[in-house]
């Protein structure tokens, strides 16, 4: 019987849970990298035992970790030595250098700061790692301050896809409350040249030539918190999801508003429908039903907890607009946790499993597409990210 592996990033380390296909009993491994912030872990679709992890710390900066055995053992990617012309050892695995060369980057060194002035781009951390769909050694990194990097040697060295920052709107991007982060990377399985990314608080962007050129895809987004609610950039996109069988259909949880695009982001329509609030962070798609989507409504942008203290996942089987509350097994009183943008995932077993983690340290799972839920682990540090691998 096949099984699942759940990769959990928290404020104080990573945990890895495994179960067989029944998803009733769970083995917990970790914490790995105890004491470090683990913004994200993700496995290669080509080689499920190849995992990447973003390990960071306010004291020690950014580390990229890599595992070849499904998370039992880890090594700092780039921990091996290469030698520079000077003869000094050089390790590049933790090095994210913005590309400002005229050939590729169209030199760009500042973005909009909170006070409206221009501010230099400064690397802070990796928010999201997205392994290639075809090559286990190729992985993308979405970073703060917002930029997209790619490694083609298993995380040992990183190069910026500088056309994103350099395409023209970069000086108008500005940080949200959580920083100016590139947090969503979607690789189109039907078109190797097409990548979608999302940045807070700039919006969504797309390349059709594997990262050389980019353009904003925010038409239809309306954000009342910016001077021009319909601006080309400046929107606080929280997360985007797609179903791999239908990559031109995108679902977005924006700061406020749940949105849908049927044309690869060329235009967006609101599908918040009957949600109790359309603020939230996560959004994901059922593994086998491309029009079944999930969100976790959060009361407001200043009250980062569920309405009425009831933790409810909302499911739409119609690609939005019509939503049903899923409550069975979830706390329905006195619950004031948040569910952060990368903290929901699905498995692809016959009965689709849905998983999400909370800032209160619980990870809830449903083995029946959301009908019933149970915590598979509790009392963790605040959960930053949840990814799921369906194992053969």
């Amino acid at each position: 019987m096949s099984g699942v592996r759940v990769l959990i990033g928290t404020r104080k380390g990573a945990l890895i849970l495994t179960s067989d296909g029944k998803r009733k009993r769970w083995h917990v491994s970790g914490p790995h990298f105890g004491g470090w912030e683990i913004y994200h872990l993700k496995g290669s679709p080509v080689d499920p035992n190849r995992l990447y992890a973003s390990q960071s710390s306010g004291w020690f900066g950014q580390i990229i970790q890599r595992s070849e055995d499904g998370g039992k053992r880890w090594e700092a990617a780039g921990g091996g030595l290469t030698t520079a012309p000077s003869g000094m050892p050089v390790v590049e695995g933790n090095k994210f250098v913005y590309d400002t060369s005229p050939e590729t980057g169209k030199p760009l060194t500042t973005h909009q700061w909170y006070d409206g002035t221009q501010h230099p781009w400064e690397f802070k951390r990796v928010w999201h790692l997205e392994p290639s769909l075809t090559d286990p050694d190729t992985v993308y990194a979405g970073v703060e301050d917002a930029a997209l990097f790619r490694s083609t040697d298993g995380g040992q060295t990183w190069q910026e896809l500088a056309g994103l920052r350099g395409h023209g709107t970069g000086p108008g991007w500005h940080p949200g409350a959580g920083g100016m982060c590139l947090h969503t990377i979607l690789l189109d399985p039907s078109n190797p040249g097409r990548i979608f990314v999302a940045i807070s608080a700039a919006g969504a962007f797309r390349t059709d030539d594997a990262g050389k050129t980019w353009r904003p895809i925010n038409r239809g987004l309306k954000s009342q918190y910016i001077p021009d609610p319909n601006a080309e950039v400046g929107h606080c996109v929280h997360h985007i999801a797609m179903h791999r069988s239908r990559p031109s259909v995108l679902f977005m949880q924006k700061h406020w508003d749940v949105m849908r695009s049927d044309d690869a982001g060329e235009s967006w329509q609101e599908v918040s429908g009957n949600l109790p609030t359309d603020f939230g962070f996560v959004i994901d798609v059922h593994a086998h039903e491309p029009d079944t989507i999930y969100v976790v409504p959060i009361k407001s942008d200043s009250e980062h907890y569920p309405p009425k203290g009831k933790l409810r996942v909302y499911r739409s089987r119609t690609g939005g607009n019509e939503w049903e509350a899923l409550t069975k097994g979830l706390p329905q009183r006195n619950c004031y946790v948040n569910v952060l943008r990368d903290a929901m995932a699905v498995d692809s077993l016959d009965s689709c499993g849905v998983y999400f983690g909370t800032t209160g340290g619980q990870v809830f799972a449903s083995a029946d597409a959301g009908d019933t839920w149970a915590p598979i682990v509790r009392y963790l540090p605040a959960v930053l990210s949840v990814e799921v691998q369906t194992l053969p």
Partner: protein, 98 residues
């Protein structure tokens, strides 16, 4: 032989227990000690000094001989007691929090 004491998380990363002992060629300075440390433990590169600017990370300090050397120039000679191994060079994580 230079003795270096690392904070807990960097000892875990480098898989070392107590003090690290390093051979440093030439003048013993912050830069030459950290170069030797990173050459021996490449996984530490970027964790003490920024990879690009080579500046000390803001929440780390360098102490030795009961002095705070954090703001000394990176190429200034360290105290003789550090250069002779009588005293360790301490990399200290700031206590931050409530």
């Amino acid at each position: 032989m230079i003795r270096v004491v690392l904070p807990y998380h960097l000892r875990m990363m480098a898989h070392v227990g107590g003090e690290v002992k390093l051979d440093v060629k030439g003048v013993v300075t912050q830069r030459s000690v950290l170069d030797a440390l990173e050459a021996r433990y490449p996984m530490l590169r970027g964790t003490i000094r920024d990879q690009v600017t080579e500046q000390r990370r803001p929440f780390l300090r360098f102490f030795a001989c009961e002095q705070d050397l954090s703001h000394e120039p990176p190429d200034a000679p360290l105290p003789d007691a550090v250069a002779t191994g009588a005293e360790p060079f301490l990399v200290v994580g700031a206590i931050a929090g409530g």
